[in-house]
Amino acid sequence: MSSLQRSVSSAFTIAEMEARKLRHDSTELWMRTVQPALWLLIFGEVFNAIRGLAPGGFTYIQYIAPGVLAQSVLFIAIFYGITIVWERDVGLLTKLLSTPSPRISVVVGKALAAGVRGIFQGIMIFALALIIGVNLRFDPLDIAGVLLVSVLFAMCFASLSMTLASFLKTRDRMMGIGQVITMPLFFASNAIYPISLMPAWLQTISVYNPLSYVVDAMRAMLLTGDYSGVPVDIVVLLAFTTAFILSSSVLLKRLIE
């Protein structure tokens, strides 16, 4: 095996480890669907009454469905840093790093595992949308595209979270930073309202917010069918993901020193 093959195979092994755990106990996955369901069923339903909030003649529930999916993936991914700190605390991380598998494989593997959870969230949102009658584009290619973006996005923020973990080092601090990061990202994005409604300073921030690009790509595939912005969205997301994976792989050793 070449070293690239080894790295890829190890990354999938780490992801397999997580997937096997989810197969044994999927309670957490199901609980994770409660929050997006509330956003759609309650928040979406109430704001649906306000006409003209969503651009392009869509209903508000239609408009926020991609945003709610992106947010739920974000919430899953951002807590991956806690998982890695936990595994450090119980000695599992030390043991993973004492194998010949390279460090980047551990990071990519964990990020892929976040992606697996992201796919599950995506499927649940689609199911929910079908049940409550939200009209989305249920085209197989679009669905595949949305799931792919979910995986990339989950990988992006899981590796950001693991990067932060190598500085913060404790579970309590990671809980704190999770809260600190997620809500501002959510509010400074186009997830629940159009960027055009924001004050100018917030619009500037939203340009640098990866969540905006994710929601934009998802919305194109789920609602508008206008793919003109998607290539840029994907490139930006890939750039962020690569940067965070590399930083996390390099910094991971800080956790066990």
Binding site: R6, T13, K21, D89, V90, G91, T94, S98, S101, E257
Partner: protein, 345 residues
């Protein structure tokens, strides 16, 4: 401080060095805060032996092991594992190692089989060999029947055995055990010790372990080093070390006339009062009949003889004394307790 065996090797040829599993020289680790955890440590571990690294909490044992297993990078010094440089080619070294960390680190949310499967894959064990080795390891450690149960339902002893089994799927030439019997009941502890011995005997696996348990070290280790405050305080075979802190002591209770002294080939009288005599001797068990015979010949009636010999505890207390004032850190206590009580995550 240079360990004696380090001096022995300096004159040896290159071929002889091939039989060394670990060569550590001038190993030093200074943490970011300026704490010197390991301070110019040198020692060798021979191929096929069980080598113990002892010392109080915070002596630098775990840090030393982390550096040899290439998890942590030394500030200075050199490490060779079976002749391979651990600093320039860590992945090559890791392929030869098995590592069982201090805290129980098998994954409670996976089955026993899965825990071994994942590690076999991470060690790139050939697909054809993988299942055979996993089942062999599970069988060897008496876990075959519970292979498909989630590990969080295992007992502490089973988790420890699973961990050692896990470290074996890649057939390591060198196995590291950090506190292998911590938090185990006496029965499980004996089982684990037995397994360690078997591995060493049947597979020729070189084993390096740390422990606080002196009787365990005495029973298992061919040679050991005692660390104190980041340095090697002393090293050698358990027998030599025990001899270095003093010989055997015989306590004789007798009536009748006790002599003031005994012939020097039998030992020396340390104290004698009111029918009780303490005699310092070597090889106490063999000395008992001869001393008894001599005393009775001198007119005493020997009622009882008890033998006490120095233990590794005495060795430990002598060499680790300096750092015993400092208590173990909170982190040590926490990880020990957690590994004893943890069930799954």
């Amino acid at each position: 401080m240079t360990a004696p065996q380090q001096l022995e090797t300096t004159g040896e040829s290159e071929e002889d060095k091939g039989s060394l599993a670990v060569q550590v020289s001038g190993l030093t680790k200074v943490y970011a805060g300026g704490t010197k955890a390991v301070d110019d440590v040198s020692f060798d571990v021979k191929e096929g032996e069980i080598f113990g690294l002892l010392g109080p909490n915070g002596a630098g044992k775990t840090t030393t092991i982390k550096m040899i297993t290439t998890i942590s990078r030394p500030t200075a010094g050199a490490i060779r594992v079976f002749g391979v440089d651990a600093l320039s080619t860590p992945e090559k070294v890791r392929r030869m190692l098995g590592f069982v960390p201090q805290a129980i680190s098998v994954d409670g949310d996976l089955t026993g089989y899965e825990n071994l499967l994942i590690f076999a894959k991470l060690f790139y064990v050939d697909r054809e060999q993988r299942d055979k080795r996993i089942h062999e390891a599970l069988g060897l450690f008496g876990l075959a029947e519970r292979a498909n149960d989630l590990v969080k339902h295992y007992s502490g002893g089973m988790m420890r055995r699973l961990e050692i089994a896990q470290a074996l799927v890649n057939r390591p030439k060198l196995l590291f055990l950090d506190e292998p019997s911590i938090g185990l009941d006496p029965y499980s502890r004996l089982q684990v010790i037995d397994h360690i011995k078997q591995l060493n005997r049947n597979f020729g696996t070189t084993i390096m372990l740390t422990t606080h348990d002196m009787s365990e070290a005495d029973e298992l280790c061919d040679r050991l080093a005692i660390m104190s405050m980041g340095r090697i305080a002393t090293s050698g075979a358990p027998k030599e070390l025990k001899r270095s802190v003093g010989g055997d002591v015989l306590t004789v209770a007798a009536t009748g006339r006790l002599p003031d002294s005994i012939p020097s080939n039998l030992g020396t009288v340390a104290s004698s009062s009111q029918g009780t005599m303490k005699i310092l001797t070597v090889d106490g068990e063999r000395a008992i009949p001869r001393i008894t015979e001599y005393l009775e010949g001198e007119g005493a009636v020997v009622e009882s003889v008890s033998l006490s010999r120095p233990t590794l505890d005495d060795v430990f207390m002598k060499y680790a004394e300096g750092s015993l004032q400092q208590d173990g850190t909170y982190k040590d206590a926490r990880s020990a307790r957690r590994s004893a009580t943890r069930h799954g995550r």
